[in-house]
């Protein structure tokens, strides 16, 4: 056991080290995903106005609530405006893998999704997303003059690390309230269709994994089984040894007590009696068993019963 414990800790440490090898991703479910600063003819709000907007994306597969969160914006150092996302609006609950748009129009009375600040295109803009505990969850800085009218600054695809300018060209188009990259195919399926039309690749790779999984189990339980058998044999040997020891101890104790059976004692007494000349001719004893007389009804012995015992 002393030898096994360090091994166990070493294994756990190795597992922890391996787990931490991957790059740590932001912990927040909700991320800033796309920002459009100068809206001339892009997406309109529910008042028919073209205003700047900030898109928030829920990257998780569960709903996430923005109520009580803060959006902070700073266009000049030391001058940060904070917008408190109101509580009590069910629409602040962002569904899994969905987007929500905030209008930066400095008109918070227009509704939950209208902030109290605007964005200025000629200055570098810092936007931060804070949770209800005021912890920074995500931030982005849009370089000064990086965006022209109707262009957005967005992650290359939803929740990716890279940001780019979406200039509304064919492959980089502005995507308010929708995926930054339109998913119009299943890349995995397409890959298999293209490279493995017969299915041999799938069969080989999948069967390898199936075999590997069950082979691991085999190796593991082979070892466990052997260890178990070994331990059981060892245990059995020990108990046999203990039994032998107990038996020999008992025999020794009996010898010590020198218990002589009554028959032996009688035979010895008779032999001594004869040796002293008290004996005469051999005599025979006959044991006779006679059937009982009368029926079982009158035989006392038949009526004797064992007293019932409560167990």
């Amino acid at each position: 056991m002393k030898m096994q414990l360090p091994g166990l800790f070493l294994g756990l440490a190795l597992l922890a080290a391996l787990s931490s090898c991957g790059k740590q991703k932001p912990n927040s479910k909700l991320l800033l995903n796309e920002v459009l600063v100068t809206n001339e003819s892009n997406y309109q709000d529910d008042y028919g106005q073209h205003s700047a907007w900030i898109e928030v994306f829920n990257k998780s597969y569960t709903s996430a609530d923005l109520a009580g969160w803060l959006i902070k914006c700073s266009c000049t150092p030391g001058d940060t405006t904070t917008y408190f996302i109101p509580k009590g609006d069910v629409l602040t609950l962002v569904k899994p893998r969905q987007h929500t748009l905030f209008w930066a129009d400095a008109a918070p009375r227009r509704g939950t999704f209208h902030t109290n600040f605007t964005l200025q295109a000629d200055k570098a803009i810092w936007i931060g997303l804070f949770d209800s505990g005021q912890a920074l969850m995500d931030e982005v800085t849009i370089p000064a003059g990086a965006l022209k009218a109707n262009q957005s600054y967005a992650r290359t695809s939803d929740a990716s690390q890279q940001w780019e300018v979406k200039d509304d060209s064919a492959d980089k188009y502005v995507t308010p309230s929708t995926n930054n990259r339109t998913i119009d195919s299943n890349p995995k399926k397409d890959k298999f269709s293209e490279h493995d039309p017969v299915g041999v690749g799938m069969a080989i790779s999948a069967m390898s994994v199936v075999f590997m999984g069950l082979l691991l189990l085999f190796v593991c339980f082979n070892a466990i089984g052997k260890a178990s058998v070994r331990s059981r044999t060892k245990h059995k040997k020990k108990s046999l040894q203990a039994l032998d020891e107990r038996k020999s101890a008992e025999a020794a104790a009996a010898a010590q007590a020198a218990i002589v059976p009554d028959e032996v004692m009688a035979a010895i007494t008779l032999a001594l009696h004869e040796a002293k000349g008290h004996g005469h001719d051999a005599e025979r004893a006959i044991l006779t068993i006679r059937p009982t007389e009368g029926s079982a009804w009158c035989d006392k012995r038949q009526n004797l019963r064992e007293v019932p015992q409560r167990k």
């Binding site: 039309p197 799938m202 790779s205 999948a206 069967m207 999984g213 339980f221 082979n222 466990i224 178990s228």
Partner: protein, 386 residues
């Protein structure tokens, strides 16, 4: 008065358009007949009655014709209907893991633990899945559909439903019915293949009696099994997690009530709901297609391939095993996860050739390995294709 009679006539005529008699089509009649055949097979031949009775009766329920445009909310595909609500356990995939919980709680893995090399037979038999996958691709199905069809070869109904609900929901009815039908037909499909691929000498091989397995080993199995398989294939977690959890409930020895519920009332309830709704999902308008017929053909092929690959693998395995520790190839068929039917087939066929050779306990090893193997294979297909 004439107007009133006219009103009555119109009313009755209107009612007539709502009746099953008015809306019946040839497809409905065919599906109802298939349902009756299923019930007959279950009652008269005792082919998987626990599955075929609910599925067969579900087919009758699902194929009662009605006016689909009336918005009656009675059909299984009409959102908000009772049948649709029950069917959500299938479409969202939560019935199969619960079935696996029950399977875990009723399965004794001792045979496998005592002779772990039998696990490899369970892996080999999964080739049925990928053989069918290749044939499905050749027949023009796309990779996701082919994966969902291929899983029929795993001979595992819940796994087939789980995977098809993710990869090809539109084919799920046909896949589920096909998987369960062939599981019921294991006694018909497997023995000829087993006889064909083995020699008389091989069929007479007597295997060493399995050793006694300690309680510690039995408790360790679900824990180690879960960690090893799910670290490798996390996408198999819903099925494997529940399977091993159920087994731990059984083997821990301290959760007897939970284990009994999982392998008793819970699995029975889910089996009823699953069977009935899968049967009802075979609504003729959705089910009677060329694809369904192809799926049935591919399902049969996948069972044949799985059985053959299990048997052939044992024969090859015997080449490297010592002479005194050979495996009877008749247990190769049990690598498909139709528990315990395929293991019983091994026993029955084995006894035909040697009345003193009891293979059941040995066959249970690959059989339960097949359950793990098919769940792992489903996880791989999900990971590769979704």
């Amino acid at each position: 008065m004439g107007e009133f009679i006219n009103f009555l006539q119109n009313n009755l005529a209107d009612f007539w358009t709502y009746t099953g008699l008015y809306n019946a089509s040839v497809g409905h009649i065919i599906m109802i007949l298939i349902g009756i055949v299923f019930i007959y097979l279950a009652v008269a031949k005792e082919f998987e009655p626990m599955l075929l009775i609910p599925i067969g009766f579900g087919m009758l329920i699902g194929n009662i014709p009605f006016n689909m445009e009336a918005g009656l909310k009675v059909g299984i595909y009409e959102e908000g209907s009772v049948l649709n609500i029950l069917y959500q356990g299938v479409t969202s995939g939560w019935y199969p893991p619960l079935i696996f919980l029950g399977i875990g709680a009723m399965t004794d893995f001792s045979a496998l633990i005592s002779n772990p090399k039998l696990m490899l037979i369970g892996a080999a038999a999964q080739f049925g899945i990928f053989g069918a996958y290749m044939i499905a691709l050749a027949l023009g199905f796309d990779p996701m559909q082919a994966g969902a069809i291929g899983i029929i070869g795993g001979a595992d109904g819940p796994t087939a439903i789980f995977l098809s609900s993710k990869l090809a929901p539109n084919l799920m009815g046909a896949i589920a019915v096909s998987a369960y039908s062939y599981m019921a037909l294991v006694p018909v499909i497997q023995p000829p293949i087993m006889r064909l691929l083995t020699t008389k000498k091989e069929r007479l091989i007597r295997m060493k009696a399995p050793r006694a397995v300690s309680h510690t080993e039995k408790v360790m199995f679900p824990i180690v099994g879960l960690l090893l398989t799910c670290f490798l294939v996390p996408s198999g977690l819903p099925l494997l997690g529940m399977l091993f959890f159920g087994n731990l409930l059984k083997e821990s020895g301290v959760t007897r009530r939970l284990a009994e519920t999982a392998r008793g009332p819970l699995i029975d309830t889910i089996t009823i709901l699953l069977g009935l709704t899968v049967g009802a999902s075979t609504q003729a308008s959705e089910f009677l297609t060329i694809d369904s017929i192809l799926i049935f053909g591919l399902g049969a092929l996948s069972f044949v391939i799985a059985t053959a690959s299990g048997v052939i693998f044992v024969k090859l395995f015997n080449l490297v095993l010592p002479k005194d520790n050979q495996i009877n190839p008749l247990i190769g068929n049990a690598g498909v996860s139709a528990v315990p039917d395929s293991a019983r087939i091994s026993q029955t066929v084995g006894l035909e050739y040697d009345p003193g050779n009891y293979l059941l306990m040995h066959a249970m090893g690959p059989n339960v390995a097949g359950v793990i193997g098919s769940a792992v294979a489903a996880g791989i297909l999900l990971g590769f294709l979704l």
